[in-house]
């Protein structure tokens, strides 16, 4: 039991990272960024390329992975979403474009690296036991990185000017731009930061279990669910939602089997959408306000 909770927490920490990025992008720019999945996968493959092809040491390779993801995320916003935002296209148009971007990236990566699963580490992981719980080193770093980054992110939003601007844009983009905020610059920043979070999450998973080009979609859907059950319009709620989902998924695996994981995630989502749309920490709003 404790073992499963611990596994679930580590898993949840990764979901929380991806969800924080997704949530930051969604709350700031109102883009339902399905292509976040592409960035997620890209981060892991950049790490793979840096480690296996270029034979770079791990820290440099991780930096390279983050850099690639950040650049790709910003490019997607600049080339795809910003023109649509300028035309004030509907959210459906943006969502469909995002889906298209994901399909393109995913298959480009599959062309470059093959469709099969790539493993980054060979051999048995070193493990650490705490009481009756046994965790691998990667799992422990998942938990630590997850908690640290979430904390840093909170400080960033509360206490830096850029963080405040993100919150301002999320509140009212038109008003912010009238007051002289360079909305597009903040957008790019949100995308860059969000993409970095996705890349860090994906690299932590890739080091643990490897990756294939098609894992991104289900991870980002889980992250989106985490955002919603945590409560949108709240930058930190996705982290709580992520940990909650990680724990639940782990319990599902324990009680039944891994194959129902996704169905349960979406079951939870539908439950929340019907009974508590504002999420755990959200505040209910009138329909006109959430449009």
């Amino acid at each position: 039991m404790l073992q499963f909770l611990a596994n679930g927490f580590c898993k949840g920490a990764v979901i929380a990272l991806v969800a924080l990025g997704f949530g930051l992008i969604y709350t700031t720019t109102r883009v339902f960024h399905i292509a976040h999945a592409a960035i997620y996968v890209l981060g892991a493959y950049a790490l793979y390329a840096a480690m296996i092809w270029l034979k770079l040491p791990l820290p440099v390779a991780v930096g390279f992975g983050i850099l690639v993801a950040v650049i790709a995320g910003m490019l997607v916003d600049w080339s795809v979403y910003q023109p649509l935002a300028k035309r004030s296209a509907s959210s459906a148009v943006v969502l469909i474009s995002s889906l298209g971007v994901l399909i393109v990236f995913e298959n480009l990566i599959a062309l470059g690296f093959g469709n099969q699963t790539q493993i980054l580490r060979a051999g048995v992981e070193r493990t650490v036991s705490i009481g009756s719980i046994i965790l691998t080193q990667v799992q422990i770093s998942q938990a630590i990185v997850g908690i640290t980054l979430t904390g840093t992110f909170l400080l960033f939003l509360k206490h830096t000017r850029t963080g405040q601007l993100c919150r301002a844009i999320s509140d009212d983009e038109t008003l912010a731009s009238v007051l002289g905020v360079r909305v597009n610059r903040i957008r790019l920043l949100a995308f860059g930061l969000g993409s970095a979070f996705a890349a860090i999450g994906s690299m932590l998973v890739a080091l643990d279990v490897g990756m294939d080009p098609h894992v991104g979609f289900s991870v980002v859907l889980t992250a989106a669910v985490a955002c919603i059950i945590g409560g949108l319009r709240n930058f930190l709620a996705p982290a709580a939602g992520g940990v909650l989902l990680g724990l639940t998924q782990s319990l599902v695996v324990w009680r039944t089997s891994a194959k129902w994981e996704e169905a349960v995630t979406f079951g939870i989502l539908i439950f929340f959408l019907i009974f508590r749309r504002q999420g755990l920490f959200g505040v209910a709003r009138r329909a006109e306000e959430t449009a």
Binding site: A92, G100, L111, F217, L221, F266
Partner: protein, 289 residues
């Protein structure tokens, strides 16, 4: 020659599917990613009735259509309370759950092994086995389905549905029960989507869950979006273009190992470019705005 029949049969099936999705997405303005779920439920219910209960083809078909229609109606009740991105996410959730059930409920669906040996359809005592005969059946069924949708759309129901899409509050203020119209659109779309499901099962005589996953939902949506939503010609044009496109790639002698990925890349690019340059699709009227 059989190759040509195969392509034409696929065009008929996908045109019907996209046309039924058009009712929800194009005329109802509800972006849904769960159409492959209805398609797959139709295929599974039809096949299981024919194989386990030994029901005749037509009776199984009708039962599958009615069952899927009721299911679609039930799903729409919670879903339409949501708007925009959340609605899409809810339909996506339904798609994922249906896939998980088809894949994991091994006792009934045989899960990943799929159902082999689905019998060929027999209509009024004639067994439809040869490809040209099947094409005739698929074409007649596609025409019938499109006919039903056409009647539906030119009736007051269709007009009101479009009014709801354009301005929900205005429609409501004229005394229309907005949500009831959306639910009916879903039920009709589910009913029509089940038909190509049953046909596909009997045509390929083997079904497994991977034919009805999220990728398939996205593909059907691609057909509709590229062809043009909210217009009767759109889905048909889209089905022709998107079914022929991979066949065209085949003639370019692209190796199989990359052809599948390349095809996906083309679909993805088409979606992005369409949304940027022509959100209403090739022949569409409705631009998702």
């Amino acid at each position: 020659m059989n190759y040509l029949y195969h392509i034409l049969i696929m065009i008929c099936l996908y045109a019907t599917l996209a046309q039924s999705l058009n009712l929800v997405v194009g005329y109802g303005g509800l972006l849904s990613l769960s159409h492959a779920a209805f398609y797959g439920l139709g295929a599974y219910i039809g096949s299981l009735l024919m194989m386990q209960a030994h029901w005749p083809f037509l009776l199984s078909l009708v039962t599958a259509v009615v069952t899927v229609s009721v299911l679609a109606w039930l799903v729409s009740i919670p879903a339409i309370r949501l708007h925009g991105d959340f609605f899409v996410l809810a339909t996506l959730g339904f798609q994922v759950i249906v896939f998980a059930i088809l894949y994991n409920w091994v006792d009934v669906t045989r899960g990943p092994y799929g159902i082999p040996g689905v019998p060929k359809p027999s209509v009024f005592g004639h067994s439809v086995t040869s490809p040209p005969a099947f094409l005739a059946l698929a074409a007649v069924v596609a025409l019938l389905c499109c006919g039903v949708l056409w009647l539906l759309l030119s009736s007051p129901f269709g007009r009101t549905l479009q009014a709801v899409r354009e301005d929900e509050i205005a429609a409501a203020s004229l005394g229309k029960d907005v949500n009831a119209f959306k639910r009916s659109a879903f039920a009709w779309a589910g009913a029509v989507a089940a038909v190509p499901g049953v046909l596909f099962a009997t045509y390929s005589s083997y079904i497994d869950p991977t034919s009805f996953g999220l990728e398939e939902s996205i593909f059907i949506l691609c057909i509709l979006i590229i062809g043009g939503a909210g217009n009767f010609r759109g889905p048909i044009i889209g089905a022709v273009v998107l079914v022929l496109l991979p066949e065209g790639l085949r003639f370019l002698r692209i190796p199989d190992s990359i052809a599948a990925n390349l095809r996906q890349i083309l679909y993805g690019l088409a979606l992005v470019l369409m949304m940027r340059l022509r959100p209403q699709g090739i022949a569409g009227k409705y631009a998702f705005d």
